[in-house]
């Protein structure tokens, strides 16, 4: 038993796990935050410019749609390789945490935009029409009606987005980012046949996803005033 624990957590592995959890959280949260900042306006545009949107614009809608679809159809691992030159220009390096965050953002913001678009679509047309009948302009409708009305759904969407980003993190091993949880799992499990560490790293990933999901669901429920109490 002691030998087993020793092989799992000895030789400084405990510290490695701790660092990995922190790095994973850091990379995930930063990528998510930036993806959301980019995805929110894009999602609003996707929603608003559609033919049944509140400011229909066929050409813009088509262009945005195509761009989002193209980025989303490229598998992350391939996109990561493809945009390495771009990373060199934007963050000054192709490898390491910062470059990896850049790859995650590029891969995630179109996904986030689609999630936001779909949340906004759930808002009752009647409520928007009522706002229009009161003389609201489009900016007021977006900021005071559509986004607040969609809030619970947006929070649930954000939870899905953040766990998806977390799911991308193991691929950091490709570009030698610092030790993320997923990277540990791959390095030890795949390359060194040390399945114990792979399982522990994966378990930690699962726990992280669970925590995030619980937290987001709590807030989604708490903010939703449609629930009778």
């Amino acid at each position: 038993m002691t030998g087993f624990l020793q092989s799992c957590f000895g030789n400084g592995m405990l510290g490695t796990y701790g660092l990995a959890v922190v790095s994973t959280l850091k990379v995930t949260l930063i990528s998510f935050a930036v993806s959301y900042l980019l995805g929110l306006p894009l999602g609003v545009l996707l929603y608003g410019t559609a033919s049944d949107g509140i400011f229909p614009n066929k050409p813009l809608s088509t262009v945005l749609d195509v761009i989002v679809n193209i980025i989303r159809s490229i598998p992350f691992i391939i996109l990561l390789v493809m945009i390495q030159p771009l990373a060199k220009i934007v963050v000054g390096t192709k490898i390491g945490d910062n470059a990896f965050i850049f790859y995650l953002i590029v891969a995630s913001f179109p996904y986030v935009a689609r999630m936001i678009e779909s949340s906004l679509r759930e808002v009752d047309r009647g409520v928007i029409e009522a706002a229009q009948s009161m003389g609201s302009n489009n900016w007021q409708i977006v900021t005071k009606v559509i986004i607040p009305e969609a809030k619970p759904s947006l929070i649930i969407g954000a939870a899905i987005a953040i766990t998806t980003i977390l799911g991308y993190t193991p691929m950091a091993y490709l570009i030698a980012g610092s030790g993320l949880l997923g990277q540990l799992a791959i390095q030890y499990g795949l390359y060194r046949f040390d399945s114990k560490i792979m399982y522990i790293s994966s378990l930690l990933l699962i726990i992280l996803v669970q925590i995030m999901q619980v937290v987001f669901n709590y807030f989604a429920k708490k903010t939703d005033k449609r629930i009778r109490n």
């Binding site: 009752d124 409520v127 029409e129 009522a130 009948s133 009161m134 003389g135 302009n137």
Partner: protein, 338 residues
């Protein structure tokens, strides 16, 4: 106050063009409670949305206080909409805002300071009788309460006109009556002109002074409610006015007549007296009457005995009493049945 001149609205659908509204011309005066009635699909909702340009007409002109809405810039139109409020069948409250914040919304977008807006909202909620539910969310309210909040919200910007799109169609009869009373009160005390879209003749009868009957996007008939109610000329008006229960009854030999009550004493047993004095039994095929302040309003559909002399006695009785009636021919009733 509102003038529609040859207003048309055509939609381009996958199945080709759909003419929802065709050459509608109406004149709504200040202080009117104007009814627009029709069956579903008649174009009522599209027509009412042309009045505030939520639907831009494809033909004709909408004038509000003499100004053609099409001549306004988008910004001016948004400002104008503060004078033309609207309430809806589905209430359309903001589900994530409480009652007070819902009523504040139109003031908020108009740039009214928060404290002032809240004060105004509270006073309006007092008028609609909901000042004790300020912090409640729409999900915690009943349908009637939601519509009251919607009415308070619609009044927040001191509108000249209130458009009601099937505002009582989702409500039970008692709540409907209460909401209609409230609308009437608002019309009388605040001088707000009201346009009521409905498929229910009862609603028109209860509060409107003028009515337009819409059928397949065209105005079939327009005029004072009392005139149209006592002597409908178009088939569609007849269909809307005839009690629905007539459709269930079997129409056999005797003549059918429609007796109209437009303010007789409620406590006079009119049909019984007639039956006794004429010594003729009649069959009530359908009725739709209401007691308003001790006066009877509405109509009763009677089948007379298949006996010419009894029939003549009844007709004479009604003429002697100045009661309005009209003969309903069997084909007309069958038309209702189909």
């Amino acid at each position: 106050m509102i003038e529609l001149v040859n207003v048309s609205k055509t939609f381009n659908t996958d199945d080709g063009e759909l003419e929802a509204v065709r050459n509608v011309s109406l004149h709504i005066n200040k202080g009117d409670i104007y009814g627009i009635i029709g069956l579903s699909g008649a174009g009522k909702s599209t027509l009412v949305r042309c009045i505030n340009f939520l639907e831009v007409p494809t033909g004709g002109e909408v004038k509000f206080q003499g100004v053609p809405l099409s001549s306004l810039s988008h910004k001016e139109l948004l400002l104008k909409r503060r004078s033309i409020s609207m309430i809806f069948q589905g209430f359309n409250l903001l589900s994530q805002r409480n009652v007070l914040k819902n009523v504040c919304y139109p003031l908020e977008i108009a740039g009214v300071p928060k404290a002032e807006a809240e004060k105004k909202a509270v006073s309006l909620l007092k008028i609609v009788g909901l000042d004790d539910r300020l912090k409640a969310f729409p999900a915690q309210l009943s349908g009637g309460q939601k519509q009251r909040v919607a009415i308070a919200r619609a009044l927040a910007t001191d509108p000249e006109v209130l458009l009601c799109d099937e505002a009582t169609s989702a409500l039970d009869p008692n709540t409907t009556r209460a909401i209609l009373d409230l609308l009437k009160e608002i019309n009388e005390t605040m001088g707000v002109t009201i346009v009521v879209i409905t498929h229910e003749m009862k609603v028109v009868e209860k509060i409107c002074n003028r009515v337009a009957v819409l059928d397949h996007g065209v105005v079939a008939e327009e005029g004072l409610v009392s005139d149209i109610f006592t002597a409908p000329k178009s088939d569609i008006a007849r269909e809307l006015i005839l009690p629905k229960s007539a459709a269930v009854a079997e129409v056999k030999n005797g003549k059918m007549i429609r007796v109209i009550f437009d303010g007789q004493e409620s406590d006079e047993p009119f049909i019984s007296n007639m039956s006794i004095q004429c010594s003729a039994a009649v069959c009530i095929m359908g009725a739709n009457t209401e007691d308003i302040g001790g006066k009877a309003y509405g109509q009763i559909l009677l089948r007379l005995p298949d006996d010419p002399s009894a029939e003549a006695r009844i007709m004479r009785y009604m003429q002697d009493h100045g009661t309005k009636y009209e003969e309903v021919t069997t084909p007309a009733v069958e038309e209702v049945m189909s």
